[in-house]
């Protein structure tokens, strides 16, 4: 079946602009995660959803970042007033649910965001 998909694959924007990054999880997966990977670093947790609600948003760096998952499937990560330091690959992952560690997190290919 289809894996986790993310759109766009690449996004170039100017400093100060607003961007939206989309994640389509694997069908039936109730848990959805966002991570950010800067150059030369490992993925860094941002937020995860169990169903429609954000179960943990402790990784969001500031209030310019916001994510939604209104119907418990597709999620959108929104970044306001982008800064050059926001440039990174944004990864999305999904799993059957977050409660059991045996449920593997499957990662999407990522969206590469470049802020000029």
């Amino acid at each position: 079946g289809a894996g986790v998909s993310q759109t766009p694959s690449n996004k170039v924007t100017e400093k100060g602009k607003y961007v939206e990054l989309r994640c389509d999880p694997i069908s039936g997966h109730t848990a959805l995660y966002w991570y950010r990977q800067s150059l030369g670093q490992g993925p860094e947790f941002l937020i995860y959803f169990q169903g429609t609600g954000a179960a943990d948003d402790s990784g969001l760096p500031n209030d310019r970042f916001f994510a939604v998952r209104p119907e418990g499937s597709v999620s959108t990560l929104k970044i306001q007033r982008t800064e050059r330091g926001d440039s990174a690959v944004y990864l999305c992952a999904s799993s059957l649910n977050s409660g059991l560690p045996i449920n593997e997190q499957f990662f999407g290919p990522g969206t590469r965001l470049t802020v000029l």
Partner: protein, 117 residues
């Protein structure tokens, strides 16, 4: 809170040589441990995981890792590497305690394994 340290950013080896990629973690609670692999131009894939039981876990392509609680380590090993093992490898931990932080993974910085012919 947890943290993960991968002690080597790059590991070059020759084909058929053994390799060890080191991973140490820090946590005040019990953890689950994972190794992910990212092949060139591909997404992250789970390689192997330790949840409970035997401290030695294996992958389908010959890698193994041993959970050492006293040394807080989860090193990845392979006795004989192939060119196709060239990739970036990430060690990750997940809290074994309950609460809202239960689901997230904390990753190390990654180790680039390059296998030369």
């Amino acid at each position: 809170a947890q943290s993960v340290t991968q002690l080597d950013s790059q590991v070059p080896v020759f084909e058929e040589a053994p390799v060890e990629l080191r991973c140490n973690y820090s946590s005040s609670v019990s953890v689950y441990l994972f190794w992910y692999v990212q092949y060139p131009n591909q997404g992250l894939q789970l390689l192997l995981k330790y949840l409970s039981g035997s401290t030695l876990v294996e992958s389908i392509n010959g890698f193994e890792a041993e959970f050492n609680k006293s040394q807080t380590s989860f090193h990845l090993r392979k006795p004989s590497v192939h060119i196709s093992d060239t990739a970036e490898y990430f060690c990750a931990v997940r809290s074994g305690a309950g609460g809202t932080s239960y689901g997230k993974l904390t990753f190390g910085q990654g180790t680039i394994l390059t296998v030369h012919p």
